[in-house]
Amino acid sequence: MMQQKPSDPLSQGSRQTQAFLQTRNRRDRTARKAFFGITLIPVFLIIVITCLLVIRAWPILSSQPLADLLLGEVWKPTNEQFGFLPFILGTLWVTLVGVILAVPACLLVAIYLAEYARRSTRTIAKPVLDLLAAIPSVVYGVWGLLVIVPFVDDILGPFFHRWLGFVPVFSVTQPTGFGIFAGGIVLAVMIAPLIIAVTFEVLSTVPDELRQASLSLGATRWQTISKVVLPRVLPGIIAAVVLGASRALGETMAVLMVVGNVPSIPTSIFDTAYPLAALIANNFGEMMSIPLYDAALLSAALLLLVIIMVFNILSTFVLQRILGKARI
């Protein structure tokens, strides 16, 4: 530090600046600690949510072996019988139908937007997808009730019954349009924006030079896509589908409104079903009145949580590697 006379205006200024600099650095360090604390919140939340659910579900998890709970077919809470199998199967059936319906169209749309479409088409497609993603679940449920359920009832059911009724999976045994097929259709539309968006991002990581190399040899666009682009990003596309499936597993309200909510083991896509999420939503009212009922419902929530977290983490890992950073 330079020695200067106290009355020197320059030294007064520099001392003030130095003092101020120390304050700013102190503020920076304090803020750094405080902010760091805040970033612990997300991890903290995951741990708290999981633990609390385990604690509240413990009474039932400890009372019976896990296999009995997961594979039990009888659900009679008043008899202390909590077999989750119908609900697990219900969830799986609806999710599977939803994913199977969504994936082909979504992949095609994403490929079209990434490989063929002009900028003007993309600028129109983006708000459409954003809007579809923003529509609330209950609104999808209303649409499902008013449009899809009658559609399944009046058109799809008779059609399948007539031409494919010999296949057990397509047999029509109950007279309403409510059921897995309706739920699957609604789910397919709900997860479409997600699958399309992630697939599009993944396709965009392929450098243009690669496409040009193929085109310069006289390949058509589709040959380039199928032989060069798609094989390269296949893991990413699978991750996109898994992400969509995990979203479908947890979707509650829209499915609840169209799927029928009857706890039986499904054998056909036209059967009604009772997914886990719907089980939780429908019975929160009785939770406290029947012993162990709340533990049972919360263990259903725990089951959903665990499965979805696993799907989510796996696909996020794959996508982070492909996309190079946290995705949208």
Partner: protein
């Protein structure tokens, strides 16, 4: 030598293009169909009373009243939840930008946020309910706000993180070059440069929050009155739709459609508003 053959690969190319376009039309058409259904059923049920009155006696049997309780309740719920989420989201997003960047802890935080984003809202609702039961609390506006905040947190933070990580490096380096601390850069420069993006993230989260039913189902309860205290239950638009759609009375069902219509309109306005704002706002931002 260079004619236009009907070679196999050209046929495949044309077929694929047709299928792709058809899929695109299918997706777009479905959006149109959904909006059309909501409008077609919602508008006939709309009336001035619907927007300005609470359910009166006999409402659920088709008599007078409206869904003002649900409208106000939803605005309180989503508004409170969004503000609460913002208080946590912005610091996290800024911290990620300022200090974490490419660090390992940063990627863990981002992973945690991705996981939180993927947790279905029914699980958040069940979690909230489990806490309420443990503490002996009853359904209330506050409980709903807290659960919505939990749901909106990952949505908002991810959206902000996306936007903030696109900030042009020159702006940040210019600020650092004149000797700012990282905190100052975060507080003064990033927020102003990224303000449109931040607002868009907030609006996006608000839109998702106001439409969610599974989370408030257990935690906020339902009531026919306009809520006046944080500790009392409140109605909400998603639940208004859900509960009234199951009624045997067509007049009551019609009110469910009206609620769905209002909810959709709110979400559309918020969505478009976010888009417009982010392109208009930004007097201080550098393009």
């Amino acid at each position: 030598m260079k004619k236009n053959p009907f070679a196999k690969r050209h046929i495949i190319e044309t077929c694929m293009k047709v299928i792709m376009l058809a899929s695109l039309i299918l997706v777009t058409g479905t959006l149109g169909l959904i909006l059309w259904t909501i409008i077609k059923n919602g508008i006939p049920a709309m009336s001035w009373e619907m927007l300005t009155q609470v359910p009166k006696g006999g409402f659920y049997m088709g008599k007078e009243g409206g869904i003002l309780n649900a409208i106000i309740g939803s605005l309180y719920l989503a508004g409170g939840g969004t503000v609460l989420a913002l208080v946590c989201s912005l610091p996290i997003a800024l911290y990620l930008k300022a200090y974490l960047g490419e660090s390992k802890w940063g990627s863990y935080v981002r992973l945690a946020l991705d996981v939180l984003w993927g947790i279905p809202t029914i699980v958040y609702g069940a979690f909230g309910f489990a806490i309420m039961v443990s503490l002996g609390l009853r359904a209330s506006l506050l409980a709903g706000i807290i659960v919505l905040a939990l749901i909106e947190l990952p949505i908002m933070t991810r959206a902000m993180d996306e936007v903030i990580s696109r900030m042009p490096l020159e702006v940040e380096q210019a600020a650092l070059a004149v000797g700012s601390t990282r905190l100052e850069v975060a507080l003064r420069v990033v927020t102003r440069q990224m303000l449109p993006g931040i607002i868009t993230a907030v609006l996006l989260a608000f839109g998702r929050g106001i439409g969610d039913a599974a989370s408030v189902l257990f935690t906020a309860g339902y009531t026919d009155r306009i809520v006046t205290s944080l500790f009392r239950p409140t109605a909400s638009l998603p639940l208004a739709v859900f509960f009234q759609l199951g009624s045997p009375f067509p007049e009551v069902r019609a009110r469910g459609y009206a609620a769905a219509f209002i909810l959709t309109v709110i979400v559309l306005i918020v969505s478009f508003g976010a888009r417009l704002l982010s392109s208009r706002l930004g007097k201080y931002t550098i393009k």
